[in-house]
Symmetry: C2
Subunit: 349 residues, 2 copies
């Protein structure tokens, strides 16, 4: 276990912890006395059917999702009961850095997207009393959880909006995960996860951040110097001030735990490896949202899966921010995403 | 100095060496008794005006260019005198691994694209007796040399075809160079270039190869498993058999020397940093050739520069191989490139 001031309410805002008890993972390990960190907005209505689930992306927490929740936004807490679950392994839920005993830190077990979704299902049904979900939506690894929900619990999911993420991780995206993981692990200070302090691994974290910068925004954003619109004074200032600043306070084992989960995401596991059958089983109304110039998840990859979903539509959002459009750094990206979610929520099902 | 069996005629085919004497580099160092490796096809005509110059890319040698030379091809040695100069630092010319004395291996001085082009100019004019060039063409770093020729020696260059490369390295491409260089240098065996044997740095070379794989071909090639058309049995087999196989025999200091040169490519240096003025000074007929899905050099980056060149045309070649289309692994890529060069050569100037 490592103390890490980054994974605190001071950094990410208040949240709740739901006790999962001794949580058996799909790969067989048991996380004893596990907990799921989550944040809610609004109230569940009498019919328990006004809930929205908004799971988070790689390396993120609920704090990254909160800007999309508000009066006059699609995710309006006056109307919906909005639940943002943090990932297991994400730092606020049970994670490598905060686990003691045989599964601590470097020995933390491998997780699956299904583990998160099962934990979220228990939270929603047993603890919060939610009966059905008006919408499940999330970005990147949040989209993986969205797909998993739509395939695993179709009766509960009325609408789904996977954003810049796939139901099955593509080979190219898996290679990307391998490349950024290798950039981190190449740091001798990583020491197979047995580092004394996360900050010892700063060279690996910085190197990984630059791989994210290279693939996470568009070439256009760099080459037309659009970073200057967001308070950065040079490419180097953008690399340090935005990308390295994001990853430097994090725990390498947490990041690698999420990366493995990301890499293994695949809803076809529910249909003996048949992706088409799995996506065909989705009964929700689905907006598959892609970002133009996204180098993690190409629009073609999103479209490929969207075509296998019966009641679905592909929405392609132009943005210089590529995969990271979801962060809403550019206001037009935020508006386009919010408008798509509003339109989906207004669609009768 | 390191013996390295990779940098030999046995591996790359016969070539000639041109003595550059004590060659003063643009950054100030002097490479004493330097030599430029080159390969020629065909014969110079009486007017000394049927030459074509075909400089090579990062990590390549003349061997990578040779398939484009042949009867019934655009670069027909029955018609043209074709000169393929290897890069300084590329392993066959004077390079870190084969240099002795104060500039050996890790202490090899920084090169510029202009250094190569000046050396080539001396070879062509003083040694080979070439008076003008029907065409200068090259891929990636070969395109950088092509632009440098067209700007530096406009009176000699009748036609130019920079392929998947830019006159000024873009910030995103510079970041790419930094990322793959960091992947190599993160290997403790690299030891700031003082490794005992290049093969000691195999972990760094393999890691760098995977960064190239991720960015060098298209996501489509991976996600639609088009690698299976080229004799590979799995993604892992493709990564090892194609990408790692390419880089593993090479010398890390040679690669890093070329990488720095790549990063600093910028013809605007000839016009006090004014790229438009530099490109405007080109008098050659220019085909700027871009590859669709190229993640090193986006089509938009090629188009941006092409628009500043008076007598120019943008040709965009669709390919699953992205930046690496030039290798002609897919026959249709080879045909498209050859056809573009043939059309340019057939254009009166």
């Amino acid at each position: 276990m490592h103390e890490n001031p980054y994974y605190t309410a001071e950094q990410h805002g208040d949240y709740d912890l739901f006790g999962l008890g001794d949580f058996v993972l799909e790969h067989g390990a048991t996380l004893r006395n596990a907990s799921l960190a989550y944040k809610t907005f609004g109230r569940l209505n009498k019919d328990a059917d006004n809930a929205i689930l908004f799971p988070v992306m790689f390396s993120g927490t609920h704090a990254a999702m909160v800007p999309y929740v508000g009066k006059d936004l699609a995710l309006d807490p006056d109307r919906y009961f909005i639940v943002i679950p943090n990932q297991i392994g994400g730092g606020l839920s049970t994670s490598p850095h905060n686990t003691q005993g045989p599964y601590s830190t470097a020995a933390f077990p491998e997780l699956s997207i299904g583990d998160d979704v099962r934990a979220q299902h228990t939270l929603l049904t047993d603890h919060l009393g939610v009966k059905s979900l008006q919408l499940v939506t999330g970005w990147s690894m949040g989209a993986q959880q969205t797909y998993e929900w739509a395939v695993r619990y179709p009766h509960m999911v009325k609408r789904a909006a996977p954003i810049a993420g796939t139901a099955k991780t593509t080979p190219h995206c898996a290679l990307y995960v391998d490349v950024f993981s290798a950039a981190l692990c190449a740091d001798p200070a990583w020491a197979n996860g047995t580092y004394g302090s996360a900050s010892d691994v700063y060279q690996g974290l910085r190197r990984m951040a630059r791989v994210f910068a290279m693939m996470g925004a568009s070439a256009e954003l760099f080459n037309k110097e659009h970073w200057s619109n967001y308070g950065f004074s040079s490419v180097e200032d953008f690399l340090r001030g935005f990308w390295e600043n994001w990853f430097l306070p994090m725990d390498p084992n947490n990041l690698l735990c999420m990366a493995k989960k990301w890499r293994s995401g695949d809803v076809s596991q529910h249909k003996d490896g048949d992706l088409e059958a799995a996506l065909n089983s989705i009964t929700a109304k689905v907006f598959v949202i892609a970002f133009e110039q996204d180098m993690f998840i190409a629009e073609a990859d999103c479209r490929h899966e969207q075509k296998m979903i019966a009641d679905s539509e592909l929405i392609s959002i132009p943005s210089q921010w590529g995969h990271f459009s979801m962060l809403g750094v550019a206001n037009e990206d935020f508006q386009a995403i919010d408008a798509s979610l509003a339109r989906l929520l207004a669609t009768p099902v």
